[in-house]
Amino acid sequence: MKRWVARLRIQLQRLRDHPRWSASLLLALLVVSFFVSVGSGAVEVGPLDIPRALLQEEHPDHTVVADVRMPRVAAGAAVGAALAVAGVLLQTVVRNPLADPGILGVSAGAGLAAVATLIFAPDRAAWVPFFAFLGALTTVGLLLALSWSRGATLSALRLVLSGVAVQAIFIAAMALLTFAFAERAPAFAAFLVGSLNGLGWQDFALLAPPTLIGLAAAQAAARPLDVMLLDDATAGGLGMSVKPARLAASSLSALLAAAAVSVAGLVGFVGLVVPNAVRVISGPEHSRLLVRAALGGASLVLLADTVARTLIAPLELPVGAILALIGGPTFLGILWKKLP
């Protein structure tokens, strides 16, 4: 066993030493996840048949692949990438590997704003991501204010506990809203756990612009993010205005989490599991970490969604439930290591 662990460590070190290997590995995983996801479901479509089913309207599986599965897969990949990078950003801002938009209530803040928009302005569906972003941003601000004691550094325990409390309040508010305005609200249980069921191209169109903007902006800010990992005094000494930088990174994280929540509900743990797993093979440098987290997040959500819709087909499990089964133990593992 010890020998096996030692070998694994050597292989992981090799991946860290050769950044292109880890990027290629994750890209290959995403390609495999894509084909598995598009090919599996109520109708099985072989990998070689997928392009034909997609492009030829007379193909018997064209409707299933082109109109139902492809938008779901595209949206799922975008949700995964957005949540994973949102997790990286949040973990950098608070310098804590436990940070995740789902665990800290950022997703719940976005979700509450999204549900409220759907209920009170049902004809303004296009505005849902914007209001979700405002909800997520407000939550991040609230969390930072609650977790930063005067003049002291950020407390990990205070942050996580504040997040749990904020999340409970927002979920309760969502429950009340969906109960009182049941005819206009999204299905509460599916929204709360997170689901990709029924997502179409119109959902992807809502999700793609903020996700692309968020991912590009995060990659452009890779250097400042690296500096942010240092303590505030050192970062300031290197010429960084720490508070505005932190606010900007938090806003990007909120934007990405809000985009994902707007279409898929409160999908949790992607922002926790993926950054922590990817750091093992890429190291903490953001120029590498962000791209790899996006690839890993997209793959994880696609594979989890494939399991969710094929395990007891045609009944579908919410993808969030599968991700929670992976994320819960990861969270406990990190918590076990971090807390005294």
Binding site: R69, F179, A187, G200, Q202
Partner: protein, 289 residues
């Protein structure tokens, strides 16, 4: 004359071709089991190509495609079925209307809060699939049968929808409550003035709500294992406190209703459900004598 004959023959051929095309059954996917039952009675007009499960543990028998959970149908299976028409419930499926209609499929959402609405929905569906005469006649017969079954004197009744650990009263805003009212039963739970939630006809039964209820008969409906839910309800009213009034007034008459007939709206099976209700109320009538 010969040319006229040829023209007439061609016209006849064209007419028979058009008639044959028109007579082709409509391919229907239904998210309501009772609509499936009704459409099975008019196979010349409609073919049910996909349907949801009545019991989540029981797949839909082939060759009909299985759409899974009625609350969250499989859109993949729906696309695979290539229906011309999807029929769903306005209260349950309105938010999925765009997704259900993907690929230009016609979506028909019907209102079914009561017996009259259910029968109206059946008439609409009949008209849409070209089986208006058949379904109108079936509905008329069902209405006549319900009228024949009306009880002589009102029987105070509590209709309970049970889930493990929770009980809800079914008011006249549900199909069962409406049917009981039509049959001359007196529902002891009034519909709330400001209904809330996705199922406004279901009122949670809490300690305060049950204290003043005095039904002579309790009917228990559940999606799975109604006998188990009935026993749980009997234990609840035997526990005393605010629930004991129900036990005293009902004399322990707590009946579990057949889930095949009562767990969901049975559509054209409503008269059969009505007969079962009237039959089940006999002990109350006899006790009064």
């Amino acid at each position: 004359m010969r040319r006229l004959g040829t023209l007439a023959a061609a016209g006849l051929l064209l007419f028979s071709f058009v008639s044959a095309r028109a007579a082709e059954p409509v391919r229907v996917a239904t998210l309501l089991p009772w609509v499936e039952d009704a459409l099975r009675t008019v196979p010349d007009h409609a073919t049910v190509v996909a349907a949801v499960r009545r019991d989540l543990r029981q797949p839909v028998p082939e060759p009909t495609l299985d759409l899974g959970n009625p609350h969250s149908p499989s859109f993949e299976a729906l696309a695979q079925a290539r229906p011309e028409l999807v029929i769903g419930d306005a209260a349950l499926h309105a938010r999925d209307a765009v997704r259900l209609g993907r690929g230009g499929v016609e979506v028909m959402l019907v209102e079914t809060p009561g017996v009259a609405a259910t029968f109206d929905a059946l008439r609409q569906i009949g008209a849409r699939v070209g089986a208006a005469d058949e379904l109108d006649a079936a509905v008329a017969e069902a209405e006549r049968e319900i009228e024949r079954l009306v009880v002589d004197r009102p029987i105070p009744v509590l209709a309970v929808f049970g889930a493990p650990g929770r009980f809800f009263a079914m008011t006249d805003e549900t199909w069962l409550g409406d049917l009981l009212a039509r049959l001359g039963f007196q529902n002891v739970v009034e519909p709330p003035e400001s209904p809330l939630g996705r199922y406004p006809g279901l009122v949670p039964l809490g300690d305060e709500a049950v204290a003043s209820l005095r039904p002579e008969l309790v009917l228990v409906v559940a999606h799975g294992e109604p006998e188990r839910i009935r026993r749980a309800f009997e234990e609840k009213i035997a526990s005393g406190g605010p629930w004991k009034g129900i036990r005293e007034s009902s004399g322990g008459r707590v009946r579990a209703l057949d889930p095949d007939l009562f767990a969901t709206n049975p559509g054209l099976g409503i008269p059969k459900a009505a007969r079962a209700l009237v039959e089940g109320a006999r002990p109350v009538v006899e006790a009064r004598r």
